[in-house]
Symmetry: D3
Subunit: 321 residues, 6 copies
């Protein structure tokens, strides 16, 4: 059976194929009729689905994360592609091709881990290199880092996105840092490594990406500081060496200030050149990646422009040739 | 010898008496002449002083914190009272009445400590009471808390001001909390206890109040979180009991969000009723206290109004009858 | 017959019982079919109702404020509980238990009036006490104050809410004022009494709470000033005594500045300590009360969090144990 | 003796002539020497003056508003022309040519009063015309209006400036109003008449223009409403006719909303077309007049540009050919 | 056959008459059913239309700009009047009365052109008059100016609206300019002529008004500068005369700064008095015209107030007698 | 004679050596005494100088740009190093070592020109390469580009700074661009080349860097658009080829939007990925360079921190080891 990946579905297309149920709600329309609103996913993405004239029994026949065989067709509604499901049936995992559904690309994550080990292992500052090893030696943390998303929506909002964003920033810091000899490139790179690590705890790992209680109440900046404290404590215990106070302070400051402005959630403005640079490099990658997502997910049928996107306050040129 | 306390000096008054040198700089005027700019203090306050026609030798003849015998007279310059020092001489501490210079009121601090012990000891929540004991058992921290200021300028900017502000908030929380049964008054009171504790590390303790490196780069909110983490760890080690995760999270959130808005340096908005309340009660006390300082330190000679104060964007009614 | 109060209705519940019709509109859906959109209320609250397949005759069969006997069932739509009405019939008021529908709690209002008389009667400043008596002696005004709401939505948005909020503020001013001896507690308390009185004219008293023309064009601050002018004129006429000019000015200023900032509609910033305090105490009560409403009216089915509330820019912790 | 009017003084010019002392302060320089800082004025303007090596006796030898004979010379300091006074002597008013000192141009004010009577008398709406007569019949108010300034600084900041600004606006309303038939031109004109009348009470009339206590605490918008209430009450008493409620409300709204935005001190946004128009016409006149003042008072020695003016955030083109 | 113009249609009215199809989309409702969403227009305005149970064939049976004979009825949905179309059929243009559909009023545009020629021809500055002739001599540009709209929505958003707005501003500049002798009225008038000319290229001319790619990427200010450059080049070539550099710069500045503030899209603040005046006169006309549109297009059934309009942040008084 | 370069002068140092007079003003102090305020420069920087007890004759004895032999000594005043000049004498250029005074580093500029030719010559897009050649072929423009500053103050505020910043950006675009295959790296690089070229006309080239009239009234964005129009016209004339419209539009957009936000002077937001990237890369380089200047020019005597810098709202960590 040839599945059409979600990303390749077009308007008005009929299908009979497997999806993974990422979310489901039983809703009532204004007339009192029941329908199921669901999110269906595969490796290539996620799409909203609607099943009309549903009932509790049908709703209970499958759970989130289950694989389901669906019949239906696609349509555009309010500018977004969605699917109308006319029949849905739970499948046994053995019946499906798991690689078609696994959004998390384990091979890519392994490559990124290798690259991370290279980058951290290549540092000449012995304290930073040792601290890097402490992080890399925490298998639980590393495993979660590899599968974490960098956001609920917006940029790098997929399992593995956090590590992707982290490596990209570290490499850009490595490339750009030496242009400014007044900066400490290794400090900058380590800041790039640390800056978003708190997201591992801020966002929940399984199923739909969402905020944890701790994420909602503290945010990844404060959590990242707590994680850093713990890792430095652990390094000091293991090595019987005091991690230099000033270096610790600079690392903490890089995490604390990386949003660049108080109104974006940094409790302190960047006051070191490395912190200024980290904020701007992070911003550069985040903005290009987020705007690319807006363009890719835009469904305006024709013309050079995406629909108006309220969160960025503009339409974007789609640049399709 | 009868000293006139600084707060009682009037315009155009001559004096021959002791002060404590809080700060000193050797400066050059536009014509190239040297003068000493200093801050003189006693128990009642601080005043700027100028000694014209000074030289390096005179400048080196005393140090910050020294007691000095000064001759001179007062004057108003740009609306502020200052002193022109015509002679200055280092004194031996044995020559002075220490109680006239000690800005820190140890007796008052002891009373506040007693009150703090009552308030924390009176909590019925065993976890909060135990955590309070952990803080109270840290003598070094307690000593520093008793002599810490709550700010460099603005409100409660004097040694002991932090504890004064902390107790005031705890008492107001105790009074107001029960009006809102949907809130947990003890949680609110403990948040009031914790909210500014990071200032012990954010501000330097000796001489002129100023920011520490750590204060400048992390701020008292992040430092307060680090201190809380450490105290809870210490409590758990001592008691062999796990401090409840959710309670810990709520305490952390109270510290993190107490500035009420991102642009005021809280990385997260208040999301619990207690956090909302703490922010507003803190704001109430801070504003009344800060505006009272503006009125008290105003030197506009006559009329009902203070001078225009740019940091609060208004003149204040002086309310003197 | 046992009515289920609106506040106790659950999702998916059938009912046959009386409501009061608070509002009604005949609407057309996209297909051109007609339906009645209504608001049904009882003592415990208000709920939206929909009657499908309606016509003009049915629409005309009852009026706003009528008691109606409805059959139907509840459902959640877009996160809010609403009712689908399948039959509706006008009732005679004699058929219903009035106490189940009267949102205005007359007994509570009487208690609040008594408390108001105590608070104003207990003032030692003879001018303020006399002015209080002038207000209390205006029966029409007093009657309207007792049944007025403090807002269209947000905090204290129910008949009687204005007096509730007024008394709460006066009591908090009485409790907090003496902590700051530099303030005049009685002036502060009288400011709390006056600050929102203009809302009696700003908001319409009957049925759905809404803005009057005068409220829309002048606002309760300006109206409150006009009311105060009139009452002081009336007091002066009655007593043949001049109300002190400065005291009048301070009262006016408390009304004028109580929103605290120009962008919140105060034409002048608070410039007296009492005005600063009144603004912050008002804000404290308004915010806690408003956020409590958000939590109470939230219908997110599960979890610790309310839905995202755009007007406060956050989700709130629901704190349900 | 030929006086050089202040506005015609140039840099480096010596003089021996009369001025009026508008303000004086005895100050101390950093070295402790005393000097008098004064403001000298004549019909054409005001200039700062400094008399070095002064003493109390000299300071007491003249009062504010006295005419004084001064010797000295002009100079530019920090970009502003000022005078160094080397001798100062009180004069008897009989010795001076009063017309050279009277900043208030009585003849011009009489002409403006005539114009005001024409404009108000020409209204066809009998209620507005009658209300206009009530204002015009208040001789005290009219006298103060004729000599009032429209601001402490900025635009129309001179005795008589308020009436000048008022007439200009009324005439522009008369000219522009009929272009928009959807507006009521007479209502608009009357709004222009009323909009700033509260400034008569907001600003003190004699000597240096400054805020009154009432101006500082209520502002001219609220004061203007109080004045309007009083005048309508007075008109109703005199005429035994009720002034139409809606018309009164519209007049009040024009006063209340004329600053156009909450953050500029209007407690309500303009919601009628006349209020929208009044705000923009007021703004047009205020901005052109204020920017013209900046250009006229600029002393940058050469070039096409004024100095940078922080309150308007720019340099202005001086346009001098 | 008597057509009812769109502007005169009432709620619940049946019709059988011609419209022009301004826009059409084939959409799918949540249940998967297809419907046509269209905009129908005539000389008097535009109205949204819905045809349920449509299919591709029906959708393809007419094109944008076609005249169509429709049967259906009106209804109010979400506060806006719309039409439910039950049958639609393409008509031959010969069958309709063109004057009923032409939104562009050619006669009015000719009158405005005449007025424009008078205004520009009456300038005494020979350079401005010659430049005016260069613009007027460009027939293509003049033709497009006459039929251009001044906006996609908001004020003057109809074919011919740009010239209407331009003439109104020029006349107001002519009327108001001489009140301020410090300004150059002719420069101001020419600025009014030029200020929005770039909109000819910013907005597309045919059918629905929308942004061109160039409009979206550069905006009418930059385009207006490019047009002015070209016209001055062309004038210089034709006349063999150099257009004065300073005059050119002032014209460019009037275009560049007319939005008055950076955040409204002017890359430079107004720095000449003429630029300050032009901005405020433009704003005055734009605001009155836009608010009038809000009032005229409001469909709130009763009462003195329009619905709340989010883009202006208020309700407006409808002023209907 | 060994000159001490300005950058190497220390506090309290006497000197007898040559400087170039960059600016001079004859000023009057408060006591009426005259002094000369000047700026002295050499290759290494600029310093303020004061000569007391000066007169017109001395002031006229040298002009801006003259080389002058000065005796005097340095001092710190208000935290800035300045010099007190006790004697000053005009020198003949033949007496001085020109290389010590030429701030413009011609050799470095030649290297940058070579690099610019490489970068533009290496483009594969024939239109961009041809346009690059057109710019490079304009010798006058190229000469001015090589000696232009990028700002009056802030970042790259020295002759040659504009080309330095331009090359840095082009190289970073070349390095970063290929990380994002969805972007056109060559378009991005050309945008980096063009983005600030208007500064050649915005800022005056000789002596002190300052705004031209055109710079003040139009800004470098609009000027850059005018320059680009002219160059493309010139290229089309020379090559008889039409430059692609869409490519022209994209280049214009890169210039127009590079400030990233309206409030920073871009009349349009970036809407292409290249424009988004260019803005952020420009910002990154500008911020690091500007903050580095703040650190380098800071004279706070000791400690880890610069003085508080109001334009960036913070102190910076000086990072000196």
């Amino acid at each position: 059976m040839n599945r059409t990946p979600i990303v390749d579905l077009n308007d008005g297309q009929s299908f009979e194929q497997a999806f993974q149920a990422a979310d489901k709600q039983l809703r009532v329309n204004r007339q009192g009729g029941k329908y199921i609103l669901m999110k269906l996913s595969d490796q290539s993405g996620t799409i909203a689905g609607m099943m009309w004239n549903a009932d509790e029994k049908m709703f209970e026949s499958f759970d989130r994360s289950d694989y389901v065989f669906c019949k239906g067709r696609t349509q555009i509604h309010n500018g977004n592609l969605q699917v109308i499901v006319t029949s849905i049936e739970r499948m046994d995992p053995s019946e499906i091709e798991l690689s078609e559904f696994e959004r998390f690309d384990a091979a890519a994550a392994d490559q990124l881990e290798t690259r991370l080990r290279e980058l951290l292992g290549g540092l000449r500052n012995i304290h930073l290199r040792a601290l890097g090893e402490t992080y890399l030696g925490d298998e639980d943390l590393l495993g979660r880092l590899k599968s974490a998303a960098a956001a609920v929506s917006n940029h790098h909002a997929y399992p593995g996105g956090l590590l992707r964003h982290t490596i990209d920033l570290m490499e850009m810091c490595q490339a750009i840092g030496p242009r400014y000899p007044q900066m400490d490139t290794e400090l900058l790179m380590f800041g790039a490594f640390l800056h978003d690590l708190g997201k591992i705890e801020e966002l929940s790992s399984g199923g739909e990406i969402s905020y944890t209680d701790r994420g909602q109440m503290l945010g990844h900046i404060v959590i990242g500081i707590q994680m850093l404290d713990e890792k430095i404590r652990s390094l000091q215990t293991d090595s019987n060496d005091r991690f230099p106070d000033e270096l610790k302070l600079h690392l903490e400051h890089l995490v604390v200030s990386h949003h660049g402005q108080l109104e974006y959630g940094s409790p302190k403005l960047p006051v070191t050149l490395e912190a200024v640079a980290l904020h701007h490099i992070d911003n550069l990658d985040a903005k290009i990646t987020a705007y690319t997502s807006v363009i890719e997910s835009d469904v305006a049928a024709d013309g050079n422009w995406t629909n108006y996107n309220p969160s960025i306050g503009r339409k974007l040129w789609k640049n399709r040739d």
